[in-house]
């Protein structure tokens, strides 16, 4: 493999330094859960999470395990399974700092970095208390008619983008299909770390239909293989979420003791496979 280097899952997790800002995709996208467990195993600390634009079990796990100092997000929830308990507890107590946002503001701020711009303007938001708590957001005058007030969102440039994908090719290009937020994350981030189900002996650029869903290795720093790397979440089009495992998490994570038990059960049991 040329371009991005193929490394072990442990090496990938070790290459994400403590204190790094880490952009992660939503639960319905391609989430690097095996890498998340590897980060917990290596005792990652003070991560500054950026949920693009929301997260679920991934952020909740990292927060519960003490890996997170702050989180910027439009929401964190376990969806049909209810609130994200470790997130709710940590944010209410102030143990984890929160930068509350709204989905399109996170997308736009990453797009600003994609384009090398200092900010992007956004509609909406004016009159929301988000403007009061996000003091770096500014209301400016649209310089063009109708000269209405508009919100300027400073660019977000995460140190790391981290996600899982169905496969990489032998040159380190990643197939992401239509999960284009992963492309935006990779364009905006300084370095992108990707786990994949497998490395296939082909070149995505040889086939236009595959190339259309590819993230070029140009943007990718590290790749590691992780079979079922999104578990217990699903990988849309490849495998479904493990409903029972997600339910088990929601039950146990509702208390700190239960969460510790979950970590004990899952980290050890999965390590052999990961």
């Amino acid at each position: 493999m040329t371009g991005a280097g193929l490394q072990s899952l442990e090496a990938l997790a070790s290459a994400i330094p403590n204190g790094a800002s880490v952009a992660i995709p939503p639960d319905y996208s391609f989430v690097a859960m095996a890498a998340t467990r590897a980060l917990i195993r290596r005792g990652a600390r003070q991560l500054q999470l950026l949920a693009v634009p929301q997260s679920g079990i991934q952020a909740d796990l990292l927060i519960g395990a003490g890996c997170v100092e702050s989180i910027e997000c439009a929401a964190v929830t376990l969806g049909e399974l209810g609130p994200a308990p470790r997130f709710s507890a940590a944010v209410s107590s102030g143990r984890v700092a929160i930068k509350d946002s709204t989905c399109p503001a996170i997308h736009a701020a990453l797009q600003a970095s994609e384009k090398g711009l200092p900010f992007l303007p956004s509609r909406g938001i004016i009159g929301s208390d988000l403007l009061k708590v996000r003091t770096e957001w500014r209301v400016i005058d649209n310089p063009f008619p109708p000269h209405d007030p508009i919100v300027a969102l400073p660019a977000l440039k995460p140190d790391v983008a981290l996600f899982h994908a169905p496969f990489a090719d032998r040159r380190g290009n990643i197939w992401i299909g239509r999960r284009r937020e992963l492309v935006t994350m990779a364009h905006a981030a300084t370095r992108t770390f990707v786990t994949v189900e497998e490395v296939r002996d082909l070149d995505l650029m040889d086939d236009e239909t595959l190339a259309a869903g590819a993230l070029p290795s140009l943007y990718v720093s590290v790749i590691a293989e992780a079979k079922n790397g999104a578990w217990p979440l699903g990988l849309a089009g490849f495998y479904e979420a493990d409903d029972a495992a997600l339910r088990r998490y929601a039950e146990l994570a509702s208390s700190e003791a239960g969460f510790a038990r979950y970590l004990g059960e899952v980290l050890g049991a999965r390590q052999a496979a990961e």
């Binding site: 929301q54 399109p104 909406g124 109708p146």
Partner: protein, 246 residues
């Protein structure tokens, strides 16, 4: 004898009626009843209504990632959307962040999602919250995730259209910036709504009773609607069984 129906079925039909004539309905996070209503409206329109469900593969043709829903709304291509709220106040402000003094909240909710944007841009935003109580429908929200109305000069083609709860249906009057009671669900009275609503609102002399779903509508809800919503909300779909079968 009129058919038996569940609370969920009544709410689905109530929300679906509000979607008449909308070409494209988008459904966001944690929205099984609004999602079911969108599929019912689609069935009524003979499949002509486009329904986009966040988190779905079968009912989501977006190919530009997470931002496309918002870009699509900004382009004016989404006619209706749904917002919930841990708190909703009488001016249509919604709070999805939490209770108490920010940031050290007494109760933390998931977060504002896309509300601070879509509420401004989607013409027909339907507020949906099954719990109808003074703790949810409050005089003033603790945190404004998204405001019900905006000052003149702020770009705002969208906003609140109606509020559907487990007890009643309200419309929203943008000029008066107040809700108006449109109908009370079977079993409720104007007095019971007044007693369980924490904010002031307008009401007609004799509010209507929300019309329950008929046999044909129930068959749609229990058939194609239930099948469609099961992809994203399997637990909800499993509960959406006819009362006589339960």
């Amino acid at each position: 004898m009129p058919p038996r129906f569940s609370q969920a079925e009544l709410l689905i039909v109530t929300v679906a009626r509000l979607l008449e004539g909308v070409e494209h309905v988008a459904v966001g996070a944690s929205s099984p009843i609004p999602g079911s209503a969108a599929f019912l409206a689609q069935a009524w329109a003979g499949g002509e209504t486009r329904v986009t469900v966040l988190g779905s593969r079968r009912n989501n043709d977006f190919t530009d990632g997470g931002r496309e829903l918002f870009d699509c709304a900004a382009q004016g291509r989404i006619g209706a959307f749904f917002l919930g709220g841990g708190q909703i106040d009488g001016r249509g402000n919604v709070n999805l962040v939490g209770l108490g003094h920010y940031p050290n909240l007494d109760v933390r909710f998931p977060g504002s999602f896309g509300s601070a944007y879509l509420y401004f841009l989607v013409p027909r935003v339907i507020l949906f919250r099954e719990e109808h109580s003074p703790r949810v429908l409050v005089p003033q929200v603790d945190f404004i995730s998204a405001p019900g109305t905006s000052a003149p000069g702020v770009h705002r083609p969208g906003g609140p259209h109606a509020l559907v709860t487990g007890r009643a249906l309200f419309s929203f009057d943008k000029t008066r910036t107040r809700f108006r009671l449109e109908s009370v669900h079977p079993g409720e009275t104007p007095a019971s709504i007044r007693a369980t609503t924490g904010f002031d609102y307008d009401d007609p002399a004799t509010p209507a009773t929300t019309i329950p779903p008929d046999e044909k509508t129930l068959a749609l809800i229990r058939g194609p609607v239930r099948a469609a919503i099961a992809e994203v909300y399997p637990r909800f779909a499993a509960r959406l069984v006819p009362p006589e079968a339960a």
